[in-house]
């Protein structure tokens, strides 16, 4: 019963959805300010979701209905699970299970996979193009991401449980406090950009080039689910980074403010990167992620093994 409550309400679906909506508003507002605009009103992302829920769902004749409609739900479920695990370990001690770090890393892949499956199922050539690009991008960003995630694990002597990682950081100082930590954080922020498919890695969507790519055939409720998944990712992934590299959050007294600031720092950094870069081609992206970024990641792991 407690698990159901945790998954559906706090800190699972409902909480993450609202936090994601807030994060998405910050994203759009900062973007607007960077472009010297006023930007959308406070509840704009919520209006978007409610509107999409109220609209007709068009299902293309050629597509396979079942896969097409179900795959967004899998993405949403995966993000919710990640958020639940991450928040439970941060809020209460000893709630994790052995190896939950690995589970979280795997679950973070599922939204992309779900989108790929949905894109192929819609049988739209543009969606297929987007799906194939997303697949390549996933292959490219997973490798440096995993290597960089190894750094906190190495530093804390092989802890693969999230609350051990937090406990280690509380006693030995933050992971970002070391050289290897800083390098790993740079790698992780770049790959986060790719995981969230934001500029410069919005190659699978590329509004101006392939018209939304993967989502081109989606409308109504499934589209709302996809958008919501994306907003929740925007909240969950930086939170996960805060946990891994910056000692997590805590809610006692004034540290609440500091915790929120940590998250907002990551979010604004991501938004600023997205607003000051042009889009890469897919081959450039793969070369970049497998070349310099992976190299920095390996260097970070080596430094961490040397205890730096």
């Amino acid at each position: 019963m407690e698990h159901v409550f945790n998954y559906l309400i706090f800190p699972g679906f409902l909480f993450t959805a609202f936090a994601g909506i807030l994060a998405s508003w910050i994203d759009r507002k900062v973007t607007a300010r960077v472009q010297w605009r006023v930007g959308p009103p406070f509840l704009q992302p919520l209006y978007d979701i409610v509107k999409l829920l109220g609209k007709e769902t068009v299902i293309p004749r050629a597509c396979s209905r079942f896969t097409f409609l179900l795959s967004p739900v899998f993405g949403l479920a995966a993000v919710t699970a990640v958020s639940t695990i991450v928040w439970k370990t941060m809020l209460w001690q000893n709630r994790g299970f052995a190896g939950d770090l690995i589970v979280v890393v795997y679950l973070l892949m599922i939204p992309s996979i779900a989108l790929i499956v949905g894109g192929f199922a819609s049988k739209n050539p543009i969606a297929s193009l987007g799906a194939s690009r997303e697949m390549k991008l996933m292959l490219a960003d997973e490798l440096p991401f995993l290597i960089a995630v190894m750094v906190p694990v190495v530093q804390s002597n092989g802890a693969i449980k999230l609350d051990q990682l937090i406990a280690y950081q509380h006693t030995h100082g933050m992971v970002v406090g070391s050289i290897s930590g800083v390098l790993a954080l740079i790698v992780v922020i770049i790959t986060t950009q790719a995981k969230l498919t934001l500029v410069p890695f919005d190659i699978p969507e590329a509004e101006t080039e392939i018209m939304g790519g993967l989502e081109v055939e989606y409308s109504g409720t499934p589209l709302a689910i996809i958008k919501l998944t994306r907003m929740m990712m925007l909240f969950t992934l930086p939170m996960f980074l805060v946990l891994l590299f910056w000692g997590g959050v805590s809610f006692q007294g004034w540290s609440i403010l500091w915790s929120i600031l940590k998250y907002v720092f990551f979010l604004v950094l991501i938004v600023l990167i997205r607003n000051t870069n042009p889009r890469l081609r897919i081959d450039q992206a793969v070369k970049f992620l497998w070349g310099p970024v992976t190299f920095i990641g390996i260097a970070a792991v080596v430094l961490a093994l040397m205890g730096k």
Partner: protein
């Protein structure tokens, strides 16, 4: 007013459909999205696929070739949705009236909800038109 309709008026995603315009109206539409006018203040966003759209911005003469395509795009737009005809061409062919390649006007092909005249209409005009349409929707509901 239902919550669905309220959300719709607060977040109108527009799809831009040119049916044979001289491209000037299209440029004025894009002007509405620039920092100077910033339609995102009202939740209006330009989308790339008619499946995501709540409003079709139709510009141009509706040539014979584009008649069928325009109908198809309209049917692809999930309902409820609105059609906005922009520019004198879309209203009554304007300077091109009498041409043999355009037997019908936009409103004879698509159910137009609001007309915005001008050759081309100013961005202020387009914004005023959309605001009137939203007021109309709110009144009817």
């Amino acid at each position: 007013m239902g919550i669905k309709l309220k959300a719709l008026t607060k977040s109108l995603w527009v799809y831009h459909l040119s049916t044979g315009s001289c491209n000037n109206c299209d440029i004025e539409i894009l002007d509405c999205l620039t920092p100077r006018f910033d339609l995102e203040r009202f939740g209006i966003v330009l989308v790339g696929s008619p499946r995501h759209a709540d409003a079709l911005l139709v510009t141009g003469n509706m040539t014979i070739k584009s008649m069928e395509r325009a109908k198809e795009v309209y049917e692809q737009m999930p309902k409820p949705g609105v059609v906005i005809a922009i520019g004198t061409c879309a209203l009554n062919h304007g300077v091109f009236s009498g041409s043999y390649v355009m037997p019908k006007t936009v409103d004879e092909v698509l159910p137009v909800d609001i007309y915005i005249p001008g050759c081309p209409p100013k961005p202020e005009g387009i914004i005023a038109g959309v605001a009137k349409l939203l007021a109309l929707v709110k009144e009817k509901a």
